[in-house]
């Protein structure tokens, strides 16, 4: 999602002449654009790697919340009592 939003913004920014070029976030966006989003090959790689990283971190986060809510009730919480 963020990739095309940022690239759209960059297109918009280029037409402006005042002020914004000095801001650090603009420079960051330009750097990201040059590095990742400009070429299709690096864009595709960014999407794949980003999806992997997001999926893993999202799963860990939500699983942590869910296990916190159900602490002590699930099999993984009680199986230590039965394993030899």
């Amino acid at each position: 999602m963020p990739s095309f939003l940022i690239s759209l913004r960059v297109c918009g920014e280029e037409q402006k002449t005042s002020g914004l070029e000095e801001s650090s976030s603009f420079q960051l966006n330009m750097a990201l654009y040059e590095l990742l989003f400009k070429r299709t090959s690096t864009l595709a790689l960014t999407v794949v790697v980003g999806a992997f990283v997001f999926e893993r971190s999202f799963d860990v986060l939500i699983d942590g919340i869910f296990d916190k809510i159900n602490e002590g009730k699930q099999w993984k919480d009680i199986k230590k009592n039965y394993e030899t």
């Binding site: 999602m1 963020p2 939003l5 940022i6 913004r9 801001s23 976030s25 603009f26 966006n29 999202f58 799963d59 939500i62 699983d63 919340i65 869910f66 809510i69 159900n70 009730k73 699930q74 099999w75 919480d77 009680i78 199986k79 009592n81 039965y82 394993e83 030899t84």
Partner: protein
Amino acid sequence: MAACMRRICGAGLLKSNHGIVLQQANKYSSSSTWTKSQKALCTTAGVLAGGVAALWYTLDRSVQAKDLILHPPEQDWPHKGLLSTFDHASLRRGYEVYKQVCAACHSMQYVRYRELIGVTHTEEEAKAEAAEIMVEDGPDDTGAMFKRPGKLADSFPSPYPNEAAARAANNGAYPPDLSYVTAARHGGEDYVFALLTGYCDPPAGVEMQEGQYFNPYFLGGAIGMAQALYNESAEYTDGTPASASQLAKDVASFLRWCSEPEHDTRKRTGLKALTMISVFFAVTLFWKRHQWSSLKSTKIMYVPRKKM
């Protein structure tokens, strides 16, 4: 991203403009010419009507006395709620109750011993449980059927070879298969709990026939199953006091798991899905406003060409 959000808010894309819309709509409203008292009357009537409807609905829901069956009260189950899993210690006790009490008459042919692994038992324990039963297998080299100890892939044992045998042994009443019983009965595990703990003397004028027992939660009131759960009528290996209500709660939870083994995974996936959907909903909302912003901030006029 932070800069992106600041610009969004600065541009006012996510600000609502209900005030203007309301003012414009008011021009076409039929109630704009009403006097103050007329509006007050209308508001009072609306509030009264809504209140009466809400009261009627609440009272109607709370009694449910028009049916010929007692509806089971809703219990506060450990797995009640959008994000709550089963209490697996309770499921394990429930399996013990099933094995010691229910399995004497009820089959459970769609649940296999391997499904206990990682839910109520370890693999070794599940193998030991399966090995306690004898299963008919075969044919062997000579064409004869033979008995062997159960394996993980075997389903729970059936006490009777077929339905006719079950009816013959139970005064004509068929003990239903319990694999999906909470999904197959109105009220689910609440019904099972209420039925197991709800035995009482029949009211005056109601005669029970031989082999029938009175239970207000059973359709018709006359049930072929005698009260099965009393205090200490089953034993728990984890030392929980085996009161009748504890036994009923545990076995009802276990039966709910049997009919819905995907329950925990479903709720976990649901949390992930709802989180993602709400993020996408916000993005969609923003994207729609973003797309419409140029049109909404533009005044479009039709200027006919003047005739020369």
